[in-house]
Amino acid sequence: MAAEIVRERWKGKVFEMMLGREPHTVRVGGDTSLPFMHFEGTTVRPVTALEVQDVAPADWPAVLRAPFAGVLEDPAAWAKRCVELGADLVALRLAGAHPENGDADAGAVAAVARRVAEAVDVPLIVLGCGLEEKDARILPAVAEALEGRNCLLGQATMDNYKAVVAGCLAYGHGVVATSPLDINLAKQLNILITEMNLPPDRIAMDPSIGPLGYGIEYAYSIIERKRLGALSGDRMLAQPVICLVGEESWKTKETQAGDISEWGDQERRAVLWEAMTAVTLALAGGSIFVFRHPDSLTRFNRTIDALMHQQVY
């Protein structure tokens, strides 16, 4: 009895999205198979971003601050460091717009975004402070300040998407559509956004992942189901998935706790926590990964290199 290789035939594909401007564009999505099943279709290599914040983060542990020593107070220099460290994109988190963290206004954060954009050539992702109301006010200004850079702006939710998407439409950006861990809500948000005439290939889905140990399995299965949906031809589940692995991983006690003998060295453990969160979600079908620690990004990339090898059958 011979083993006959089983090849799935899919009719759909993940939307392909181009970010940034020539000659520094980055391609995201476009996959025609389950992740890394090279024998039955194309897997497009997932892309990486490193996170930069507009104000120096107060709650980052020393092992996370160390790689950015000297630039944490200067988002533009920090962004340059990210590119040197190998990030395909830079993700600017406008944490300083949060009312409890400085309450910077739209004009101020737009100026920071412009400075960061001038410092690097790679495409940008710009994320607000996470408060839906505030983000609805600041992101349109950011969109205008970054006109022509073809960025990804977010996070647009069910409650604030209109303002965010309007900014993207007016100034030529894509949008990060964020929904709680629920595939139907993700789909509904995609529909609402495309009804505003943003093309379906200008959306990245953010499933609000939980990190390793804290709900990653929900995100893993939702991303896997989205990929299966995309491959089966559902155009409202076919947007590339973005995973904020850095932000989520560095909240856990496993990354925050110092060197303790039962858990081993903090830096190695924390880096692996972030890298494993990313590798497993790439295996589910994630396309864009936003990291905090450069070593996590390096380890992720090495593993993806290995998974991108052709298979022999």
Binding site: A3, S208, G210, L212, Y220, K253, L272, R299, H309
Partner: protein
Amino acid sequence: MALTGLAIYKLLPKTNCKDCGQATCLAFAMQLAAGKASLEACPHVSAEAREALGAASEPPVALVRIGREGRVLEIGNETVLFRHDKRFVHPPGIGIIVADTLDDDRLTARISAINRLSFDRLGQIHGVDLVALAYDSADPARYLRALRQVLSQTELNLGLLCPDPDVAGRALAEAEERKPFLYAADEGNLETMVDLAHRYGIALAVRGRDLAELAVLAEKAIKLGHKQLLLDSGAREPAQVLADQTQIRRLAIKKRFRPFGFPTVCLAAGEDAVLAAAVYVAKYAGVVLIDTTDPAEILPLITWRLNVYTDPQKPIAIEAKVYEVGNPGPEAPVFLTTNFSLTYFCVMGDIESARVPAFILPVDTDGTSVLTAWAAGKLTPEKIGAFLETSGIGARVNHRRLIIPGGLAAMSGKLREVIGWEIIVGPRESAAIPAFLKELQ
């Protein structure tokens, strides 16, 4: 090979007696064909029918047991390709490779490092399952000496990575009581290895150079009468391992290809072995072997295994009522959180690790986290007040102090007005709860 539901139905008694739990014989036949039921459930099936049903009546992936009674590692019996289709059932065993070339002292150190690889997660201990002793020395005496040391220094289950049947036979004579698995039978030693495994009633790994050879060898082993097998396609490159694992699972489930109806064994090696191991844990490994004793590597891997093998049908929301941690008295602190199961379990775990008895009140927010619920207007002072009232917490404590998540600091004034309790703003992240509780006391 795979039988259709109708073909199976023809072989059943057709009495519709319902003893199998299904309404009709046909319904039962359909369940069998889909791999969702076992023929055992029908007490009336004839011996001839049982024979004829053969493959269709067996689970698509056999259950394989490693280890002695009381500590058995059960793997296999999986029925799906994606955990969201139903669930993954038996978490893969994680085995640490130990070379027999280590001298006695280093071997002792390594075994004790392996014994320490266990972690408390929400009150449960999770650790590695196996010590896999590799016959690298090419010196039988050295292997047996190392084996005796392993046997006396750990209670963990064993794998004998020893393709030399002579040495394996001598090792098994000493380790028989542990019921180790034996790795691996290949083209050159298949018959003697099967014979050994059979004699000792243990699981045997079969290794091919590729999937095609693996199928041939596994079929031979089955014909020789051994059905406790583990499969190794010989691949070591992560991309090829992932593809082979996928093919083995697809063929077992979709095609009922008998030679691949067994759990697999994967070896993760290299600089990023633990990340490759995480890939294999998600994609179908029955046993993952890895060469590290670093808790910083094993803790994330074990956590990932736990996550992938949780039941996806487990509700994302828990019931909104008063929960107790420890044995809280009337003075115990009262924590407010949401009924998103993960939020709740984090808070619970962190209070537990602080060893302070407390009450937890998870408000019904449709299973969303604190910030999501707040942003969506599902966590208002009025709603919290109503829940406090109906929960009956007021009668169980002699104080009126409510600890709220740091993310809700902005509503503390309003909340105090509405519910009339003193509000204490707790930390934003539950991980900071132990430190917070220390300060509070």
